[in-house]
């Protein structure tokens, strides 16, 4: 079943349980999720495959025994994620809240990957935010389904009180939304068609005042606006005259979406595949981080041929179907929206202005004119979450794909044999926040030999690249890290070639050819005459 057939199956045909059970997955499992539980999860696994397949995921589930004591003795420590699946009604203890919170804290201390905690059968407000686990709350589903949430007739056989209705809804939500968000970085942008996608009608024929904004299209536009506010880049790829498109958004004040919600508008008669290439280039992201929404199956086929990894939604005449797909599209759920996500859009618009200035000035004058300010910060615990987030999101300028959890970063910061340096960037056009990280580990051959620094990992957000300060971000960060570890400026660089880290590879061959095989002397002078640098 191709992706568009799967979209129709999942979102329009309202598949029955047996149809979900009969679905044959074509994706080999490449992720492992360990289920730690005191009630059954297997009936959810039975129907989750088509939803995971829609998100391009093959997942193998492994199970603990039913363990009310939450010993975690059977935990698969090599799993990519853990789901803690708990029926609270199995407990009769007084202080259940403290017990569960203590066991989650223990789980957090021994398992470094993502953890999803899902309790049911009790009304306790767990305080688990500080433990960095995703709290999957079933209470709204319980309220909605009422008496149909549980089905006690089957508990002796199924091993869970949950009803078939509950199981089907949870399976869909976990498969489309939560599990993709646990296992993969989110998408970064959406490219949207206009005619018969964002409204009913054809702009070129009906005119700006003739196209119809149905209630369903209004809801769809509102959802897209929410995604924009969450930091997803919205762009338009439409076969229309650009002047007509601008007039449309200027004059249709009833549209929830307005011009400033979009980071770029490609309204022309070129191939949409070319418009998407241009959008990806201007955003400095890969097309597989984009989701393309269009009502024209021919356009979708043509775009997928050129960009096989792009996400696609086939927009339907009934915009509520499109809205349902959009609201559940794998990769659009952000489990933790950070301030950097909302900064990203203004940063991108500022990048377009930077390019204009860059074309009119010399490199040094351009940097000076922008009033670029860099802050290098060493082992600052308040940066832990952002560092982990960036390490899991960055795909292009990343040296070794270490994908650190917050706990791993914390350990590296505490260890006096390693340094974690963040690089924050601002200029007169925007505040970018933390855009790069250097992780350096001290090493020596013997106790008496001189020490050197091993660059264990380096990653830089695409938003910060191409501003003419890439060298300063990376080489300056290394210098700060070496200095903070009080070792001679000797450096060895680790690099792992991946599918998409070509920009990092290019940087390494330019600067680190002599640092790959063994440690070598490292020197770098920061250009302090035209950039403001602060080291904390």
């Amino acid at each position: 079943m191709n992706k568009l057939d799967l979209q129709a199956f999942l979102f329009e045909q309202n598949p029955k349980r047996r149809e979900l059970l009969d679905f044959v997955s074509t994706i080999e499992p490449s992720y492992r999720i360990s289920i730690v539980r005191n009630h059954s999860f297997e009936l959810i696994e039975n129907t989750i495959r088509p939803y995971l397949e829609y998100g391009g995921l093959g997942v193998e589930f492994s199970y603990s025994s039913y363990d009310d004591s939450l010993s975690f003795l059977e935990l698969d420590l090599a799993a990519d994620a853990v789901i803690l699946w708990l029926d609270l009604s199995a407990y009769e203890m007084q202080d259940l809240q403290s017990f569960v919170e203590e066991r989650i804290a223990h789980l957090r201390s021994i398992f470094k990957g993502s953890i999803l905690f899902s309790p049911c059968g009790g009304d306790i407000n767990f305080n688990v935010d500080s433990l960095k686990v995703v709290h999957y709350d079933l209470s709204s589903l319980e309220q909605r389904l009422g008496n149909l949430f549980f089905d006690l007739r089957l508990e002796a056989f199924s091993g869970t009180k949950l009803s078939n209705n509950s199981i089907l809804e949870i399976s869909r939500d976990l498969g489309l939304n939560y599990i993709p968000a646990l296992l993969r970085p989110s998408l970064k942008g959406l490219v949207i068609d206009l005619d018969n996608t964002l409204y009913q009608g054809v702009l070129g024929e009906d005119g700006f005042d003739g196209v119809l904004l149905s209630d369903a299209h209004h809801q769809l536009q509102t959802k897209l606006k929410e995604l924009s506010k969450l930091g997803f880049f919205l762009s338009i790829a439409s076969k229309n005259d650009e002047r007509d498109v601008i007039e449309l958004f200027e004059k249709r004040t009833d549209f929830p979406l307005q011009l400033d919600d979009f980071v770029s508008i490609h309204a022309n008669w070129e191939r949409k595949a070319d418009s998407i290439s241009a959008i990806a280039k201007s955003l400095n992201i890969s097309t597989d981080s984009l989701l393309f929404v269009d009502d024209n199956i021919g356009e979708i086929a043509s775009v997928c041929e050129e960009h096989p990894s792009i996400g696609v939604i086939w927009a339907k005449d009934d915009a509520l179907v499109t809205l349902s797909v959009l609201s559940n599209y794998p990769g659009l759920l952000k489990l933790d929206v950070r301030i950097e996500d909302t900064l990203r859009k203004s940063d991108t618009i500022a990048n377009q202005k930077r390019r204009e200035i860059q074309n009119s000035l010399s490199h040094q004058s351009y940097i000076k004119d922008l009033n670029v300010q860099l802050v290098f910060d060493v082992d600052n615990p308040t940066d832990i979450d952002r560092i982990s987030e960036l390490s899991n999101k960055t795909n292009q300028f990343i040296f070794s794909y270490k994908r650190y959890s917050p706990q791993q970063i914390e350990l590296l910061m505490r260890d006096d044999q390693s340094a974690v340096v963040t690089v924050s960037l601002s200029d007169r056009l925007s505040e970018s926040g933390i855009i790069g990280v250097i992780v350096l580990v001290k090493q020596s051959a013997t106790e008496f030999e001189s020490e050197w620094g091993v660059l264990e990992e380096c990653f830089v957000s695409c938003r910060a690249l191409g501003r003419g300060i890439d060298d300063l971000i990376v080489l300056g960060g290394i210098r700060v890290a070496l200095y903070s570890l009080c070792i001679e400026p000797m450096l060895k660089v680790e690099f792992t070639k991946g599918e998409r880290n070509h920009p990092a590879e290019k940087f390494c061959s330019k600067h680190f050819d002599t640092f790959m095989a063994s440690a070598a002397g490292f020197e770098y002078e920061m250009p302090l005459d035209y950039i403001s640098v602060t080291v904390k």
């Binding site: 047996r18 059970l21 009969d22 297997e42 009936l43 007739r153 089957l154 078939n164």
Partner: protein, 73 residues
């Protein structure tokens, strides 16, 4: 109805109709999770609702047919 029931059990259990007919009075043809899947499938197909006793009782293909004939009639 009998044929329809065997066909449905066959689809859910992934066992052939012939095999199920040959051992229609045998218990242990499916495990507890498959038992639940069978209950879900039978209830959806025949638009019925099994009582807890009936759920425990339908442990062979023959008993499923017998109870269904009583409920659907």
């Amino acid at each position: 109805m009998s044929e329809q029931v065997f066909q449905l059990i066959s689809e859910v259990s992934k066992k052939s109709v012939e095999e199920l007919k040959a051992s229609q009075n045998d218990t242990g043809l499916w495990d507890s999770l498959l038992h639940v899947e069978l209950v879900f499938a039978l209830e959806a197909e025949f638009d019925i609702f099994f009582s807890p006793d009936e759920i425990a009782e339908i442990d062979t293909p023959a008993k499923i047919v017998e109870i269904l004939q009583l409920k659907v009639a």
